[in-house]
């Protein structure tokens, strides 16, 4: 008897017992679909984060104060605009560098008062952060030097203030200072912000200092000429700063690559844990198959006897039951795969996250379910094959 015959016989038996077959497959269906769902969402999330990181810029870095009660930061340690200019002049691996201060203020416009996030920086920041403008322009070095009261606002702030009508040229009052809107930022789709971008207002840092009452620069952000030069750019910047301020250990740095690695590590661990759980459900599914196959062997003792009387060898009977459990788990695997696709698409739609279904994952789920079919089908199949024909024929 060949393999194809075995499949036909297995198929006949599966179709003849539809309900039992479905229940048998249930474990495998759940196992495979959860493996697929988890991995699709996991890989989707990972690739979304990576994409986000890429758009953020893989060669970005930042420098900030190393706050330490035993070694406090003083005015002498504060970053200056000259520091920034010197770093850019000296280091060949720093492509752009800009000071950046974040501040929360309340603004008034057309009788409304709302809290916004001010981002005070220089004209170079637009290249570092890769900002895209929908309309207007970013402020220039001239605007900065002249302490012009100009602002670039984010889409959500524009919506809130001007009800989506054209914002360029409008006035925004920060305290009693009028700022003229000269640019509008494009919407940034972000996994982290869940589709909502924040109310941002970019203004020249010199303008900011003119009313903030402090000349402290809180952060410096830069961009290395390439991803491989990020560490060198950080080294240069830190040593220039320490030399200029004649201090040490007052500053520290971050870089986007490091952030990306740690995010990937976390998502990797999460994916691994969930995959392990999904793997356990596959195992349980396999035990379910073994259970039903054992019942099926007992129930079909007489059939086994008849087949043996008609000339079936032990290997034929063994093959028949093994193929049956293989076909069951294979079908379960296929159904589970489509179910997994569907569920991951639905979840992805709900939490606005892309899904990635990799061929490796499909192949793995299939191999695993086939493996489950063979491993857990083997014992019942052996039991069927070695039945005594006379006793099997007499079985009621």
């Amino acid at each position: 008897m060949n393999f194809f015959e075995s499949i036909v016989i297995a198929w006949e038996s599966i179709v003849a017992n539809k309900m039992r077959s479905l229940l048998t497959m249930l474990g495998i269906i759940i196992g495979v679909s959860s493996v697929i769902t988890v991995s699709a969402l996991g890989q989707g999330g990972r690739s979304a984060i990576n994409k986000e990181m890429d758009s953020f810029g893989a060669n970005r870095f930042g420098i900030y104060y190393n706050y330490n009660p035993d070694n406090p930061i003083t005015d002498a340690d504060a970053f200056t605009l000259q520091d920034v200019a010197v770093i850019k002049d000296i280091s060949p691996v720093v492509e752009d560098i800009a000071p950046i201060n974040w501040d929360k203020v309340n603004i008034q416009s057309r009788g409304k008062e709302i809290g916004v996030q001010i981002v005070a920086t220089t004209a170079d920041y637009v290249r570092i952060a890769n900002l895209k403008l929908d309309a207007g322009r970013f402020f220039s070095h001239e605007d900065d030097n002249a302490k012009k009261h100009v602002a670039i606002i984010s889409e959500s702030l524009s919506k809130e203030l001007f009800n989506s009508s054209v914002a360029i040229g409008k006035k925004i009052m920060v305290g009693n200072r009028p700022f003229k809107v000269i640019g509008l930022l494009g919407r940034e789709e972000s996994v982290f912000s869940m589709g909502q971008d924040s109310k941002l207002m970019y203004i020249p840092i010199s303008t900011y200092f003119s009313f903030s009452g402090s000349n402290w620069i809180n952060n410096i952000e830069g961009k290395a000429v390439s991803q491989t030069e990020v560490d060198k750019a950080i080294d240069h910047s830190l040593s220039i700063l320490h030399r200029r301020h004649r201090n040490k250990d007052k500053y520290q740095a971050w870089n986007s690559q490091k952030e990306m690695d740690s995010v990937n590590r976390v998502t990797g661990i999460v994916a691994l844990v969930i995959s392990a759980i999904a793997g356990i459900s596959l195992l349980v599914g396999g035990i379910g198959i073994m259970n039903i196959m054992l019942v099926s062997v007992t129930e079909r003792t007489r059939e086994i006897g008849i087949r043996k009387a008609l000339g079936a060898r032990e290997s034929d009977i063994m093959m028949q039951f093994l193929i049956e459990s293989l076909v069951l788990s294979f079908f379960g695997g296929t159904i589970g795969m489509f179910l997994g696709f569907g569920v991951s698409k639905i979840i992805a739609g709900l939490i606005k996250m892309p899904t990635v279904v990799s061929w490796q994952m499909i192949a793995l789920a299939f191999t695993f379910s086939a493996g489950v079919g063979v491993c857990f089908g083997l014992y019942p199949a052996r039991k069927a094959a070695y039945q005594d024909p006379i006793e099997a024929l007499r079985y009621e």
Partner: protein, 227 residues
């Protein structure tokens, strides 16, 4: 063709050993039609199972076509059951969930006959027992007599030299029983060796020779004309 020598079969029944067959000798020649009679428990079915290579004797020898069966392994025994012997059971033993054609195809599946030829032969076999219009009927859609005819088609389809029938008419009404026996008579005329177990004298009369068993022993072997 079939030679049984001094055969004994013991069954363990708790502590006791019960002899189902005691020192039985039997010789069935090629083309012969033999009926085995006797009350239930007399060892008829045990003998049939041993002749059919489903069971092994405790002592004694069994030669089929001159070859000792006791030396065959399970694989060869399966081959003998498949190619040389056709079984017909009292309780018919069709597989309930598949149609007549598929039931008749089973022995050919294990004989390695290719699907197209298998289908053709199964159709011919069903036609030869008068069921050319019942190919796609499942067993529960057939009458008892029709079911037994499907079983006969199944037993014949690999053209075995020997047919072993264990009370084939036992569960049938007399009309169906007579139709079945006509098929056996035709098979006998065509040269098939037949061994048939029965309670009924009118069934045994179709045979040439009637062997009677009692308590595991062969007690009589006569020509059917003497019945």
């Amino acid at each position: 063709m079939i030679l049984v020598k001094n055969m004994t079969k013991l069954y363990k029944n708790g502590q006791n050993e019960v002899a189902a067959l005691k020192e039985v000798d039997l010789h069935v020649k090629e083309g012969e039609f033999v009926a085995i009679m006797g009350p239930s428990g007399s060892g008829k079915s045990t003998l049939m199972n041993i002749i059919g290579c489903l069971d092994k004797p405790s002592a004694g020898e069994y030669f089929l076509d001159g070859k000792p069966i006791s030396q065959l392994d399970s694989r060869r025994l399966a081959y003998v059951r498949n190619k040389k012997i056709g079984f017909i059971f009292q309780n018919i033993n069709l597989l309930p969930r598949i149609n007549s054609l598929r039931n008749v195809e089973i022995p050919m599946i294990y004989a390695g006959v290719l699907p197209n030829e298998r289908r053709k032969k199964a159709m011919e076999a069903l036609e030869s027992v008068g069921l050319g219009d019942r190919w796609y009927h499942k067993p529960n859609e057939l009458s008892g007599g029709q079911k037994q005819r499907v079983a006969i088609a199944r037993a014949l389809v690999n053209s075995p030299g020997i047919i072993l029938a264990d009370e084939p008419t036992g569960n049938l009404d007399s009309k169906s029983g007579a139709e079945i026996m006509e098929i056996f008579a035709n098979l006998h005329r065509a040269g098939t060796t037949i061994i048939l177990v029965t309670h009924e004298k009118k069934v045994a009369r179709y045979a040439q020779k009637v062997v009677t068993f009692l308590d595991g022993r062969k007690v009589e072997e006569i020509s059917s004309e003497l019945l």
